[in-house]
């Protein structure tokens, strides 16, 4: 198991290194001169030359790449052009919010997905199964930002019960204890619901398929023939064996979840990495965009690694073999 996980960790590091190199190459390929972009149209030729020297752009490409990789590895991501603050500080504030949102929605959407999928598999072919299928396919196909706007319309404009902006109220600093927690939960409610509903749709489809796959296996028939109760067959024999592909999907669905989070954070002004990224794109704030891209890749790789570890924990067979890819 350790060998397999070690191999996965090395692969993850390779992905992160690849992202760093890729962002560097894209930066080289992109039209325009970074020095010009930094100084603006009013710069004199002399200023441009000195700025190029200051940025190290007059050095050979290989030296630039080495310096880039070294700086990224140290976590020195430069200064934001738009705000003048260190990129590292900007992202240090943002990533906990994203992890909170994405992590909770991952947990909730798989719990809901498991419950719905299991009910569908147990009652496959029934009206209930069809209705839940229609619901989950619809949720899966709805754009996240649209669902977010709908929830804002219903809960913020019509019912006026939940806030739709940010992660805390304007008076959050004055609150202590339970009111403060309640305030945070109220702000979390809509973005979390949006991401969870979309994720749960996909998860339910997959759980249903995986459980129906397992339930045709001979050992399930044997268990039924021995007189094991249907509920126990479903939970103990079918679900347990269907969990492995579900956990692997959980790891694979992480990039999509981060993509969804970008839209949801933009809609709800959630102060996470996605929002920093979108703001930076609009401000043409390259250092922030590059760092946020790398950070997203790191978060995805870490999440993938955790999902693989979880899969190995659930299925003893996976501890000996190399993890399926």
């Amino acid at each position: 198991m350790l060998v397999a996980l070690g191999r996965r960790a090395i692969a993850g590091l390779a992905v992160v290194a690849g992202v760093v190199i890729l962002t560097f190459v894209l930066l080289l390929l992109a039209p325009g001169d970074p020095a010009e972009r930094l100084l603006g149209p009013a710069a004199t030729p002399g200023q441009l030359v000195s700025q190029r020297h200051a940025l190290g752009l007059d050095r050979p490409r290989s030296a630039q790449l080495a310096a880039w990789v070294a700086r990224t590895a140290r976590g020195d991501w430069g200064t934001s052009i738009a705000t003048g603050r260190p990129v590292r500080a900007l992202l240090a504030e943002a990533w906990p919010a994203t992890v909170r949102l994405v992590g909770l929605s991952l947990l909730l959407s798989y719990l809901v997905g498991l419950a719905v999928g299991a009910v569908q598999a147990a009652r496959s072919g029934s009206r209930l199964d069809t209705a839940l299928s229609v619901a989950s396919v619809t949720l899966f196909a709805v754009p996240g930002y649209w669902l977010g706007l709908m929830l804002i319309m219903v809960f913020t404009y019509w019912a006026r019960v939940l806030p739709s902006f940010g992660a805390a109220g304007l008076n959050a600093d004055l609150l202590t204890g339970w009111p403060r927690v309640a305030d945070q939960l109220r702000h979390l409610a809509l973005p979390l619901t949006t991401l969870t509903l979309i994720g749960a749709g996909g998860a339910a489809r997959f759980v249903r398929g995986a459980m129906l796959d397992v339930s045709t296996q001979p050992f399930v028939t044997t268990a039924r023939a021995k007189g094991v109760s249907p509920v126990r067959v479903m939970l103990h024999h079918v679900l347990r064996n269907a969990l492995v592909p579900i956990l692997i999907l959980l790891g694979l669905s992480l990039p999509a979840l981060f993509s969804g989070a970008v839209f949801v954070e933009a809609v709800f002004a959630w102060p996470g990495v996605g929002r920093v990224l979108v703001d930076a794109v609009h401000a043409r704030d390259y250092p922030v965009v590059l760092a946020a891209t790398t950070l997203s890749a790191v978060l995805v790789v870490v999440g993938n690694f955790l999902a693989d570890t979880l899969a190995a924990w659930v299925d003893p067979r996976m501890r000996r073999l190399d993890l399926p890819r």
Partner: protein, 279 residues
């Protein structure tokens, strides 16, 4: 096609998609207004659905904040959204099939490298990559097509790789090689045609995904640029005007209509009896 229409879910998807495509193509016939035209903005903006403005023009879905007819923009937006996603998926399919076939049918060295690249690309959050590219280059329709195509080929490559590997050991491939057929011909004529079923499914799903992403990019303001209508555009503008005109958010640009369209179409395809192996 008949088998496809017999499946009720698939038929639903096909009909909705076909209706959208026909309406988009025939947009100038279905509506007389122009998608970008602005008349008297003050009197015609934010009209409710089915409202008739002062010039006695009916707006079936109302107007947006510039007084533009939402129904017209929905139709012209369909042109952009459908064609952009179709072209992007075409690019993905070409790339994915090439990479997958090359990885599956060549020796270890190249195959391993190509698979490594595929896995690497799969691990990147797609929207983040899209935003990165959109920030480095000027947003345009071509860029959206390229970017969506270049970030969507990996699943197809994986599928084709698997199929090609499985088919390469089948007796009819061995037979073709024994008859003296060139490897490229065997791949092109014997293996790839048999590997296409999952590709068609993945492409159908990919179109739905690309439509969502294109709309999403437009929503964030880095997709197809205004005043061109796209399906993602309008909700973005409404979200920027949080006033008492809440209903208009629902009018959007018809997102709920198109959302479930493509997946059922794709899901139905593999159920068709698999075409007999062509040898």
């Amino acid at each position: 096609m008949r088998a496809l229409l017999r499946d009720r879910r698939a038929a639903f998807g096909v009909y909705v998609l076909a209706t959208m495509a026909v309406l988009a193509t025939a947009a100038p016939l279905v509506t007389t207004a122009s998608p970008a035209a602005q008349h008297d903005v003050v009197t015609t903006r934010f009209l409710r659905p089915l409202a008739i403005d002062r010039e006695r023009v009916l707006h079936p879905l109302g107007t947006d904040r510039f007084g533009r007819d939402v129904w017209t923009r929905l139709l012209y937006g369909a042109r952009i959204s459908l064609s952009v996603s179709a072209l992007a998926v075409l690019l993905s399919v070409v790339l994915g099939v090439s990479v997958g076939a090359a990885a599956g049918f060549t020796g270890y060295g190249l195959g391993t490298v190509l698979l490594g690249v595929t896995d690497f690309a799969l691990a990147l959050p797609r929207v983040v990559l899209l935003l990165l590219l959109a920030s480095l280059w000027r947003p345009s329709t071509t860029l959206v097509i390229l970017v969506l195509g270049l970030t969507g080929w990996m699943t197809i490559a994986r599928l084709v790789y698997g199929e090609v590997r499985a088919l390469a050991v089948r007796p009819f491939v061995e037979g073709a090689l024994a008859l003296g057929a060139r490897r490229s011909r065997v791949l092109w004529r014997h293996i790839l045609p048999n590997a296409m079923t999952p590709v068609i499914v993945a492409a159908a799903l990919g179109v739905g995904n690309a439509i969502l992403l294109e709309a999403g990019l437009s929503f964030l303001g880095v997709g197809v640029q205004p005043p061109t209508a796209s399906w993602g555009w309008s909700p973005a503008r409404y979200s920027a005007t949080p006033c008492a005109t809440g209903w208009r958010r629902t009018a959007g640009d018809g997102d709920p209509v198109r959302a479930p369209v493509t997946p059922p179409t794709g899901a139905a395809l593999p159920r068709r009896p698999r075409a007999r192996l062509r040898m």
